[in-house]
Structures are given as C-alpha cells and as structure tokens.
C-alpha cells in the first residue's frame, strides 16, 4: 500500500471505513510529512495540531460508535481566508495578525458535519490578490515541482500542499482564477463552481460578485466528493442559489459520447506558450477519442476580460477592505485622531498590491469616473456573459488552457503588475460570466512543470465538467505523477 499521505480523499475514506487506518494515524502521518517538507514548500501559515488531533480523535470515536459520514476522519486544509472558529484567519495580511475567527464559515460547518478534520491554514496572496503567493505577508509558497518557481495564486498554498502530499485536499477561493491557475501550476485538480453554488458566508471577501469557494484536490473524484458536501442554499448568503445539489459522483465514470466540446479560437492565439498549446491540443484529441465531438467556437469578448475584471474586482475590494481600520479587530497603530489611526493602520497593515488595488477601485468608483469605468465595466460584463451564452448554444463545454504559461519563476512577474494580471487571462472571464470551470493536469513542460487544461461550462454545469475531467483523467496518468521532494529537515 502507498504511504498514507499519498491517498486521495476517496481512498482515505475507503481505508478508514475498512478499518485499515484511523483518523489519528492519517493525521499523524500528515503532520509528520508536513514537518519533513513544508520547510521547503511553505504551504502552511499555521497549524493547530492539538485542535486537529482532538477532531481526529472525535472522528475515530464517531466511527467506533458505528457512525458514518462522507468525509469522516479525513483531514482537509483550508486557505487562510476561511473563518474557522477559534483559529487565526490572516488572509496573508499583517492587517489580521493575531485575529482569531469568532465563528465557522458555512462551508466549514458543512465539512465538519460531513466528518472532515479541519487542519491547517494555507498560504495565499494577501486578501487573495495575486497570482503567485508573492504577495503574502508571510513569504511565498514554493512550487513542489521546482522550488524556484511560484505555485500560482492566490490559492498557491492549496495547490502546493496538495501536490506535495502534505494535504489530502484543500479549500480555496477563486475570484479570477485563484483556484484553477495554481492547480494548473502544481498539477492538481481545481474547480471554480458556479457563482452561488457554495455559500460565501464566513469567507473573507475580495470581490463579492466574483468570489467563489472551490476545492483543490488530487483527482476529479475528490472534487466531486467535496462538492457534494459543500454545495447548496445557505440562508446566510443572499447570493447563494436555491437549486438542488446533485450527487456529483454520478457524473464520473462515463465516456464523452454525445458531448460537444468547443475550442474558442481566442484562447489559442498570441501570448500562449507553445508547450501549453501542444499539451492542450493533445488533450483535446484524447477527448475526441473518448467520444466527444470537438467544434470551433469564438469568444470575441475575451480580450476585454482582464480590464473588466480589474475594474469590477478592485471596485468591490475597495469597499470590502474598508472595514480593516484598526478600530474593532486586527492590527492597530495608535494615533491621535480616527483619521490618523486609519491611515497609519492601513499604511502598515496592507501590502503594496492590496494598496494598488484599493486605490484603483476607489478611483473607478469616484465621482466623474464612475460612468467611464465601473458602469462601463458592468456593461462589458453583461456582454461577456452574452458571448458565453452564444458559445454554449453550439457546445456543452469549452476546452482551453488554464493559464498561458506553466509556473513562472519568483520575481519574473512581480515587478510588472500588468504581466502578473495577464496570467488570469483565460480564467477571469468565467468569473465575470458566472459559469463554472475545472482545471485538470494535461501534461508537463520540457522543464518538468505541470500544465493544466480548463473545461468551462455554463452556470450549474459542474456535472458536465466533472464528467469530462474524470473521463480524461481515466485515459491519462498526469494526475498520478508526483514531484520529487528533498526532505528539508
């Protein structure tokens, strides 16, 4: 049998239910591996081992009593922006240094009810703003496939941890690609569900109309398992959708006959790394061989996605992040007047990318600029959505690269925000359009870095994505490859 830490969630559930191991053993193995490897990877910003062990013991006790639950006893790690009662929640920012969350996010409650053991907090770009984790106040995470490369972002800790087998699975968030791009960079599976599919209650907001919780996992089945647990209406989130949650695992194990998959020409143009293009086109051929019909489609709005995204996301962020003022919680710099207190606290608490986006967002909402930027961006957003609606009239899902390049090196893009923003070019459109998208591993570059293929669907088409992703996964072995890690201790 493989080492315990190499198990997927579904394998771990099976081994646990067969009595092959216990939750405490799983957790101990995981913590031991974290000790060995996280020094080099830096996927975690904090771990409450005692709390995790208590949960694992409770899970074992439940199992002993004959109880069962979908994730009973399996450790799950979460991005450092989920509120977990009694745990820190820094969002990768000095602003929330020392902050202890006073309540559980709805997804955390649901994971707990499903028996999961919530363990560890994963590194991220500050307040989810970034594509490399280089914007974390606690230092970047490293890509397990090459520690000179970024793991992607903002959920970079998620992907690095899952790829390095120092997390069985993890919860991230995706505002413009923050789950899919790191999944692609680290060779994991990452899903951005339909907006409203999963409650945002308790998830610290970056851009409210775009944020969505998404899992980063070792394979597609695990994504389906987590989606089963996390999805569904939450009355605490007025934007959550009142739609039934299907059993997502029923979408697995089917071939692709009868499905029509579209290749949008705009996603295969200038700026796309040739190795990425080759890998995605080859993956397309695999899908065809599995019975899918491949058609060409056009999404002429694609080039407007990044500017539109950065107007809407930063506008919302400028308000969402206004609450971090040093008055009620978090870091505070003492001052003589409230205004001075705000200025000092925010000047020291926020990093430069967060400040850049707050200023940008404040600007586009300002009197005299609102119509030209924010209002216009909303119009373009509707147009982008209409473009996707058009495309989905001639196909069930789209196949595209997840990111234009494999993982880049530290410092390569951090000096040029625009270059960094462009790494979301294939993902941010989906958040704007309100659909869902899955990234699955589809190859490696010559230098051994993972490449991801994105399957994009219309709203509530997660089952189609999982069906395509799983069929492709069954036909290939990219997802089974593991990076060679040097123990750092």
């Amino acid at each position: 049998m493989a080492a315990l830490t190499e198990l997927t969630v579904s394998e771990a559930v099976r081994v646990l239910s067969e009595g092959g191991t216990t939750s405490t053993s799983l957790l101990e193995a995981l913590l031991q591996r974290i000790d060995q490897h996280d020094g080099a990877i830096h996927a975690y910003v904090s771990i409450d081992r005692e709390d995790a062990m208590r949960q694992a013991e409770a899970a074992d006790a439940r199992r002993k009593r004959g109880e069962s639950a979908p994730l009973l006893g399996v450790p799950i790690a979460v991005k450092d922006l989920f509120n977990v009662k009694g745990q820190p929640c820094t969002c990768g920012s000095r602003m929330l240094e020392g902050y202890i969350a006073p309540f559980d996010a709805t997804v955390i409650t649901r994971l707990r009810e499903a028996g999961a053991v919530i363990v560890g907090r994963l590194n991220m770009d500050e307040f989810a703003m970034g594509s490399s984790t280089e914007n974390s106040a606690w230092g970047p995470s490293r890509n397990p496939w090459n520690t000179d490369c970024v793991p992607g972002g903002s959920s970079g800790g998620n992907a690095a941890a899952v790829a390095a087998d120092i997390a069985f699975a993890s919860l991230g968030t995706d505002t413009g690609g923050s789950v899919r791009q790191p999944a692609s960079f680290c060779g994991c599976v990452g899903l951005k569900p339909t907006y409203g599919r999963i409650s945002r209650y308790g998830v610290v907001a970056y851009a409210s109309s775009l944020d969505q919780v998404g899992p980063v996992t070792k394979d597609v089945r695990d994504t389906a398992l987590l989606m089963n647990v996390m999805s569904g209406l939450d009355l605490r989130d007025s934007t959550s959708l009142n739609v039934p949650t299907p059993d997502f695992t029923t979408a697995l194990g089917r071939d692709l006959r009868g499905l029509r998959l579209g290749l949008p020409s705009e996603y295969f143009g200038a700026g796309l790394d040739p190795e990425v293009e080759r890998a995605v086109r080859a993956a397309t051929d695999v899908c065809r061989s599995l019975g899918a019909e491949i058609v060409s489609v056009s999404l002429p709005q694609t080039k407007f996605a990044i500017p539109t995204y950065y107007v809407i996301a930063t506008a919302e962020a400028s308000a969402n992040l206004a609450r971090f003022d040093g008055i009620r919680y978090g870091a505070r710099v003492k001052a003589d007047s409230p205004l001075e207190l705000y200025e000092q606290t925010r000047a020291r608490g926020f990093g430069s990318e967060v400040k850049r986006r707050i200023i940008l967002g404040t600007y586009v909402l300002s009197s005299g600029y609102y119509d030209a930027y924010y209002l216009r961006a909303q119009k373009v957003r509707r147009w982008i959505r209409a473009g996707f609606d058009d495309a989905f009239r001639s196909c069930d899902a789209l196949l595209t690269p997840t990111a234009p390049t494999p993982a880049f090196r530290f410092g390569e893009k951090s000096a040029d925000p625009l270059q960094m923003y462009l790494s979301d070019i294939f993902t941010a459109t989906v958040n704007l359009a309100g659909g869902c998208a899955l990234s699955v591993p589809c190859g490696f570059s010559a230098t051994g870095m993972p490449i991801g293929m994105q399957v994009i669907g219309p709203a509530l088409a997660e089952e189609t994505l999982l069906r395509v992703g799983h069929a492709y996964e069954q036909a290939t072995d990219w997802h089974l490859r593991r990076p060679q890690l040097k123990a750092s201790v």
């Binding site: 922006l81 929640c89 996010a105 209650y201 009355l235 007025s238 308000a319 009620r328 909402l365 009197s367």
Partner: protein, 473 residues
C-alpha cells in the same frame, strides 16, 4: 422686498422590527452598550448581510400610506465613507432605486390645507453611537445596523410652522401605520433640513444650506426660525448664501457652519454585490395594501358616524393613535361613547399631559374606564363620586366596581332616607326656603347641595331635586 423660504426635509425613521436590518440581533433601545451585536453588525470579515423582509414591508407600507409609487424592483447600494460609527466603513443604503417614489402628505396650517410632495422613501441601516468620555472615545454598536427608513420631501414647505405641521402629521401617519414607535426621546425620528430663500415670484430656488442636529420637532422649528432670517439678512446685505452644512446649536439657538471637509465627501455609491435586487411580487404588494390600517382622517369620520361624536371630539381622540385605541377599547368593554369621549378628553388627557406618559401607561385600563362609566350610567354612583373613584384608580389601580363596593360609595336612591335629608335641609335653612319661594333659583341649588352634604355626596342628585320640589310644594 419680500422673501419666501423653501424647505425640504430628510426624515430618518427607526422602524419597529424585531431584529436588525441585516442580521438577527434584537432591534431594541436602551441595552448596555455593545450587547446587541454580532459579527455581522460589527462588520467582521467574512460576514454577509441578509435583508430584513419585515423592514422592507414596513417601508412599502409607509409608501402606501403616503401615496407613493411602489416599484416591484429596487436595490441596495454601498455608501462609502470612513467613520468609526459605520462598522464596515460603508453603509448599506438605497441610492438610485428606492423602494418608494413620489407621494404626498396633506398638512393644515391656519385652517389652510396644503399638499406636501414626497420625493422618495428608502431603506438603510442605522449607524452606531460614538460616546466620548474624557480623553477617550467609545463606540456603541447596539444601534448599528438597525433598520432606518429615510423619507425625503420636496422643497414644498415655506415656513417653520409648516415644517412643524408636516412632522406632526407624518408622525401621526407612521404611528397609525405601526411603522415606528416615533418616540422622539429614543431618537426614533431624526430630521435634516434643506433650506433656501428666494424673492417672492422668483422662479429658481435659492442656494440651500443643510441643517443638522435637530433632536426634536421643536428644534426643527427653532432652527428654521433662526436660519430663514439669517439667509434673508445675508441676501439683503448683498452677500450670497454659501452651500454648506450647518449645525443647529440648541443651547445658543443658532446655526453655525460645520467644517467644509464634511461636505467634500464623494460617497462612491455602487450596487451592493452581497444582496440581490429586491424583487416584490404583485401578490405581496396587494396583500400589504389590503392590510393597511385605518388612517386618522378615516377613523375620525368613522367615530363621528358610528358613535355620534362631535367632529371636534373625534379629532381630539384620533390625533394620537394610542388615545383613539384606548377610546375604542373602552367602547368594546361597554363604555357609553359620549361619556367615554368626555372623560378621556378631560380627565385622562389632562393626566397624560401632566406626566408626559402615554395613555396606556396610566393605571386605568380601557375596561376599568368602561366599568366606571357604566356605574355612572346605571346611577350606582354620581359624577363627583366617579371622579373620586377615578382618582383612586389612577393612583393605585384597581377595579371601579370593587372600589365602590369596598368604600361604600354607591349613591343613595332610597327615597325614605333622602326624604328625611330633604326635610332636615328645609328645616335648617328657612332663609333659603323663603328665597326659593321668592323666585331665586340659586337658593334651590343651595338646598340640593345641603342634601348632598347630608348624604355625604352619595345621594342621587336627580332624586334629591324631585323630593325637594315636592316637599317645598
């Protein structure tokens, strides 16, 4: 040169809901600071607002009572500004799609009825209270996030009297609508004023100032009494009015300019992404319309028609919804209408205005008043005794019938006993008897009084008169 003022009001009304606007905390006044709070109304990271459906209903109801147009769709927006009293540093409010648009309210000043236009009514969350102690400050978030309805009027008011009349009429409507308790001491109604003056006949409105910090209707009246002549003086001296926010200082009775910084705000409104637009259904709105309570004008007409009350009396009773409710409850309990109206208007309202308390906080219940008036009607007690019993009930509470029994206050209608008293009075007052027989009616009244005295006030006065007349021949 003659001048005319144009006054518009922005009235903030706290709604009578069980919970706050966007969280489940109680919407209650007077608790220890920061006890009615939760992560949501404290603006903790990760929390989300959920709109209070009852607050939406009450706002729509207010719009219906003021003849506004009720749109089925409306939305919430974020108003961004940094201040310690707003926990998220943005306030959730309604910017360009309020729940209610247009409408009007009639006021009567000096016997003249005027129709005052309503511009819009929207819903928002109230802010916290900043508390200063010594060199330090604190914030009490109990009020933060409670539902606040803002009613904006057209600049249709021209005098301080009209502004006052409008506020009083509005308060009456909102109380009738059970929208708000309208308790001024608790800050249930707060008001900002936009005020400008222009020459009579001029087409365009003058430059306006905004007046803040009036805590009472009286304050609004006085602030306008000060501000209108101030603007006229400025203009007559050839100066121009500066568009600014001015603070009313209750103590000095003056308005003074607030620092210009307050005015320079760009609130950067944008649609609240955490709340989908409000979408009402036709059925919902129709149901709410069917549930509308009776308004003062209609109630007054009904009281006149159903109970034969004089217009004036009915007007006094309906002026305050609680008083009218008390009156109707007493009728329900069997009180004769005219007597109930008289007693409430005189005895009870006197007590209300003495104590400043509401009629419901008096120790007499509508049922007790009914019982008291029935005792009078059945001639068990007479008027003066009834007043005595009322004083007892107001002081100590209790059931009038039991009090009358306990204290032996029932009036004497026993002819034998009264005949004896009458004979006694006649023989003891020969001069009065002679005066009466000489045609002086006052002498008769004196003799009646003597009999009443002999009966210790318990005699049935009607019977006494009959017996005296008989004995005096």
């Amino acid at each position: 040169m003659s001048w005319q003022a144009d006054i518009g009001l922005e009235i903030h009304v706290q709604l009578r809901t069980r919970t706050k606007m966007f969280c489940g905390c109680p919407n209650a006044f007077g608790a220890e600071p920061n006890t009615h709070v939760c992560p949501t109304c404290l603006g903790y990271p990760g929390t989300l607002p959920v709109a209070n459906a009852d607050a939406i209903r009450l706002t729509v109801r207010s719009g219906m009572l003021l003849d506004s147009t009720i749109g089925l769709r409306s939305k919430f927006d974020r108003k961004n500004y940094f201040y310690p009293d707003v926990s998220k540093n943005y306030q959730i409010t309604q910017y360009d799609e309020p729940l209610c648009i247009g409408g009007h309210l009639d006021i009567v000043v000096d016997g003249q009825t005027r129709r005052i236009g309503i511009t819009r009514i929207h819903l928002e969350e109230d802010v916290a209270k900043n508390i200063h102690f010594g060199s330090d400050s604190g914030v009490d978030f109990n009020r933060a996030g409670t539902p606040l309805m803002e009613i904006v009027t057209e600049p249709d008011l021209h005098t301080p009297e009209e502004a006052l009349a409008f506020l009083q009429a509005l308060k009456q409507v909102l109380q009738y609508g059970e929208v708000s308790d309208c308790n001024l001491e608790q800050g249930n109604i707060r008001c900002d004023i936009n005020c400008s003056v222009r020459q009579v006949g001029a087409e365009r409105l003058g430059t306006k100032t905004e007046l803040k910090n009036m805590n009472t209707f009286r304050g609004v009246f006085r602030a306008l009494q000060h501000e209108i002549p101030r603007q006229i003086r400025e203009l007559e001296r050839g100066r121009s009015i500066v568009q600014e926010t001015r603070r009313w200082d209750e103590a000095s009775g003056r308005t003074e300019a607030m620092r210009g910084k307050e005015d320079a705000h760009d609130y950067r409104y944008f649609p609240e992404p955490d709340l989908p637009p409000v979408q009402l259904t036709e059925e919902e709105v129709a149901r709410w319309r069917a549930e509308l309570p009776e308004l003062p004008v209609a109630r007054r007409a009904r009281l006149v028609q159903a109970h034969g009350l004089p217009e004036y009396d009915a007007g006094v009773l309906v002026a305050d919804k609680e008083v009218a409710d008390f009156f109707e409850a007493a009728l329900q309990a069997g009180a004769p209408a005219k007597a109930a109206s008289n007693w409430i208007m005189t005895e009870l309202l006197a007590r209300v205005s003495e104590t400043g308390a509401s009629i419901h906080s008096l120790r007499i219940t509508p049922a007790a008043l009914a019982s008291l008036l029935q005792l009078v009607e059945k001639k068990v007690i007479n008027g003066p005794t009834a007043k005595e019993v009322l004083a007892l009930v107001l002081a100590e509470g209790g059931e009038p019938e039991a009090i009358v029994k306990q204290r032996g206050l029932a009036q004497v209608s026993d002819t034998g006993a009264l005949e004896a008293f009458a004979a006694q009075a006649i023989s003891a007052n020969p001069k009065s008897v002679a005066d009466y027989q000489a045609g002086k009616p006052a002498a008769f009244e004196f003799l009646v009084g003597q009999v009443m005295r002999l009966s210790r006030g318990k005699a049935n006065p009607q019977l006494v008169r009959e017996l005296l007349k008989k004995q005096l021949g």
